[in-house]
């Protein structure tokens, strides 16, 4: 009876699966196939040529470095927010949630322009750093890697906060109290109770942010400009400007392989750390 109902329920997934098959899997397959097709049929030539070029390794390095930094910043900034959000009640929680979710409705381009204003030499961040004495004089943040990391982290922050929040919310607050009555200091309790129990949220948040920032296209082109290529901007340019589908497919596949392997690998690693913590 139950398994019968279960089998019938599976049909509910058909529209989504069909949608993904037509609009995602098929183009992706085409892309994969295209990257292995040379003038004389099947070849790895595109990849070996791509990887033989030292410049492309620099692009891969740029892509991974920025994605990791963005993920790290989102984690460091987002984790305490997720805890606060889960702890907040009533009006304060509504305000916090709104503040986190509402920016998702603002387009990336608008945000990038806003960041351009904030990151200017006479912008808020530079003024803050000068007035606090960290900087002697205003320096350029715009179109620098720190500027890009700050801007991208801002855009992707909700995707770190929300998965962690959804896990924190489920943690029985008595566990924290139980730890206290057993003589554990707040720091110890955080390390041994909260951190391991929020690890699933951290993992999915990091996977979200990393995969989005490794493939971001508009944000680096607006906050970093044309002098800083990532795999995504290189892919975009190959298709849109150079009309070189083969090269575009190859870079896209390299990006895909890197992103998937890092997300899968880090998930596996964090699970291990989470278990042994």
């Amino acid at each position: 009876m139950n398994s019968m109902a279960g089998k019938r329920v599976i049909w509910l997934a058909v529209p989504a699966l069909a949608f993904l098959a037509i609009f995602y899997a098929a183009p992706l397959f085409y892309l994969l196939a295209r990257s292995f097709v040379g003038p004389s049929g099947f070849t790895f030539g595109l990849f070996s040529a791509f990887l033989a070029d030292a410049y492309n390794w620099r692009v891969i390095g740029n892509t991974l470095r920025i994605a990791m930094l963005v993920t790290l910043v989102c984690l460091v900034v987002g984790y305490p927010v997720a805890l606060a959000l889960a702890r907040a009640r009533g009006f304060a929680q509504v305000i916090l949630l709104t503040a986190i979710i509402l920016p998702l409705s603002v387009g990336v381009v608008v945000k990038a322009f806003a960041w351009q204003i904030v990151l200017r030499r006479d912008g808020a961040i530079a003024r803050l750093l000068v007035s606090t004495g960290i900087w002697d004089e205003p320096q350029r943040l715009l179109f620098t890697e720190p500027g890009l990391v700050i801007g991208a982290a801002n855009v992707f922050l909700p995707f770190m906060i929300l998965p962690i929040y959804s896990v924190v919310k489920l943690i029985d607050p008595r566990l924290w109290e139980a730890g206290a009555t057993l003589g554990a200091s707040p720091l110890y309790r955080f390390r041994k109770i909260i951190l391991p129990l929020t690890m699933p949220g951290i993992i999915s948040g990091m996977a979200f942010v990393f995969s989005m920032s490794v493939s971001m296209f508009v944000i680096p082109s607006l906050l970093m400009g044309d002098r800083f290529q990532t795999l995504a901007t290189l892919t975009g340019r190959s298709f849109l400007l150079m009309r070189n589908e083969a090269l575009g497919s190859a870079t896209a596949v390299v990006l895909l392989v890197l992103a998937v392997s890092i997300v899968v690998g880090s998930t596996w690693l964090s699970r291990r750390i989470g278990r042994s913590a």
Binding site: Y55, R58, F113, Q116, I117, R120, R121, D122, R140, L142, F143, T144, S221, L222, M224, G225, D226, R227, F228, Q229, R237, L241, M242, N244
Partner: protein, 352 residues
Amino acid sequence: MTSHSGRGLSRRDALKTGLSAGIATLAAPGILRAQAPRELVIGGAASHKPWVETHVMPFFEKKYNCKITFEGTRSLVNLEKMQKNKDKPYLSIVQMDDPVMILAVKEGLLEPITAAKVPNMAKLKPGTVHMDGMWANYLQPWQGVAYNTNVLKTPPASWADALDPKFKGRIIVPSLQNTEGLPNLFMFAHLATGKPMAEAYKDIDAAFKELQKLKPNLLTVYSQMPQAFSLLEQGEAHMILGALSSFGMQRRLDGAPITMAAPKEGIFPVPSGIAVVKGGPNADLAFAYMNELLGAEVQSKIAGPTFAMPTNTDTPVPPGMPTDAKIHTIDWAFVAENRTEWVKRWDREMAT
């Protein structure tokens, strides 16, 4: 690449203008005999729509008893529309960038024009009719140096001013991905070699070497023009090399503290091309439309709003346009051949 002096272009001759209008009228009667209004479909840029609808459409529809449908999109999309419907074209006229015109010619999509079919061809400035009449330029917005007037009290006299160390991190240039990114390459070849532009522009090696000097001063290399101009207006950037007049002058009119300069080395016209589609419907109307766009009457109406230089020698140069600048026409065939290589090199050598 050809260069010539624009000196004296602003002088006009009322008699000549009247004469060219007369020729247009003489060509008209055969068309006027048609009874039901016929349709002329034009593929152009979305940004053309305002002036086409205001200054061209009513005038042309009345004069030739027809109806114009204007499809505003991007040049590459127009190219695709022509390719897809090659056997039975529905576009009669295309208004596209010159580099895309070259691609269209290669695919055999365009019908060459002659002075017989398009009398105004004879009135055009040199260098504005391309590949034996495959297409012509009806307007030339131009590229020079845009600068922030709050920061720079006098216009930059030379493109090389941008190399001054006092502009550290204050200069913006367009990406080579953008059409407007190419002139900088030629200008830097000219700056590096000191030879006349017509000789210098092919020395791309020299250009890249000279561009290295610009690197410390670069704020960014843009692919989104509005972003570059907003940075200039905010004062974060002080100059944009290779800025488009149609954009920069409009912002200035809107009150932004920026303006355009035409330094002593010269400026680059940005060719707005027009061509007749091979085998397109109502060819007679198509040639008539082209003739009107190349004519002094229409050009004098649209040159002002688009901050462009007219190509018809009888058309007065609108106020605010440089009247005595050297004008360098870009060798688009050379560009088409080498652009991919240049982009690759640019990525490597201009990277942060």
